[in-house]
Assembly symmetry: C2
Homo-oligomer: 244 residues x 2
């Protein structure tokens, strides 16, 4: 579904929904679907019950229906595609097709400027299924590789200090003045983009609907936008690619 | 523009093209635009002349026209957004809006299965603007962080052996049996997805229209699809998240 706004979905995704007999998803996302889809058979399972949601999708498909299982962003990035293939191991007669969508790394970056642009990492701070030590290791690796970063799930009710903890790890490897930023409510009511330094980001309390961006060594704030250099112009001016 | 197929573009992107007086882009992408756009004023600059293309966009905008500058994939990922902000430093009266698109990490992953799914890195093997040593450093960091990877620009006429060189670096840190794959001509005629091991990938000559995917430690081939685990089911079966 991308960020949630229908005009940020692809024609391919909308066509799949139109052709489906049943649409299954977390209640919040079903509610974001346009009027014309509300007449379809809409099924849901409670939050966290992703496995049950996938099983439901196969059960409905096995009744001969065309089923669409929806999730926000891109189904292949912290989405439902992987779990569907896992559970599909025991439902081989059902054809599974993944339709890509706009992930927050792309939609958030577009609001903030061009913070990724070159080589980058996407890292989730959610330790629901990932040990925190593993997340720390990835933050260190991303900093050592001088990757730009998109940070997903930077905060939740139970993890209010996770972004601060992540910034403390990054600050061991990256200067405090590093250009960063974050975007709230991408593609929804109240979209808000903020640029700041890594040190300022450490002191910021973001909400769970926020995607955080860390620039690389060549990133800078240009007229309020977070921009990671591609190199062309720099190369022409100085002969070296400053973002490398 | 995403991969190039119109139904893989968002409504927002299509609306921007429809509202534009001028559409500027590399000739190949202008040619991929649908019939209804061919009547617009279409302008181009030769390959490699991205700076001139951006300057042309501002020049046309300063004539009072609404201009769309197009590129493939996502404008914010190895696209034109960053260069537009750079050149925009001297064109402050022109409003610049970035419209996100489906990048090859998402569109390629959807064809191959769910190879990214969790934390991942996007790395380009093009050393046109990046020293090869920097690319090597990022490959090592990505391997050490156990990131899944999407490799852009894995080959070109002048860089036929770059994927082999990248695989040799990864093979110093990752087992040869690591689940990998690649996709050719995403969203175009002749789309082809192949799964293989990292050792097999090293021996593969891919073309320049290929995106390569390297799984993480928990990735596996499920019914011909490259799948990186999300964790739910594994967690339930064994109490540990095998992709971490």
């Amino acid at each position: 579904m991308g960020p949630g706004r229908e005009d940020m979905m692809t024609g391919e995704a909308l066509a799949a929904l139109e052709q489906s007999d049943v649409i299954i998803g977390y209640t919040v996302y079903l509610g974001l679907l346009g009027e014309r889809f509300q007449g379809k058979e809409l099924l849901s399972t409670p939050m966290r019950q992703e496995t049950e949601r996938c099983q439901l999708a196969f059960q409905e498909a096995e009744k001969g229906k065309q089923v669409a299982l929806i999730c926000s962003g891109d189904a292949g990035i912290y989405g439902m595609a992987s779990l569907m293939y896992e559970i599909g191991k025991t439902h081989l007669e059902t054809e599974l097709v993944v339709i890509p969508g706009i992930t927050a790394a792309s939609s958030g970056a577009a609001v903030l400027g061009a913070p990724l642009n070159h080589d980058f990492c996407v890292i989730s701070l959610s330790d629901l299924l990932t040990p925190w030590e593993k997340i720390e290791k990835r933050l260190v690796a991303a900093a050592e590789g001088d990757f730009a970063m998109a940070i997903y799930n930077p905060s939740s009710h139970k993890r209010k200090d996770y972004l601060m903890r992540a910034c403390d790890i990054l600050l061991c490897h990256i200067e405090g003045e590093r250009a960063c930023g974050y975007v709230e409510n991408i593609g929804r009511e109240g979209t808000r983009a903020v640029t700041c330094t890594l040190r300022e980001l450490r002191e910021t309390q973001v909400n769970m609907f926020t995607t955080v961006f860390i620039g690389n060594a060549g990133s800078e704030i240009i007229n309020g936008k977070l921009v990671t250099k591609r190199g062309y112009q720099i190369e022409r001016n100085t002969g070296i690619c400053r973002n490398n």
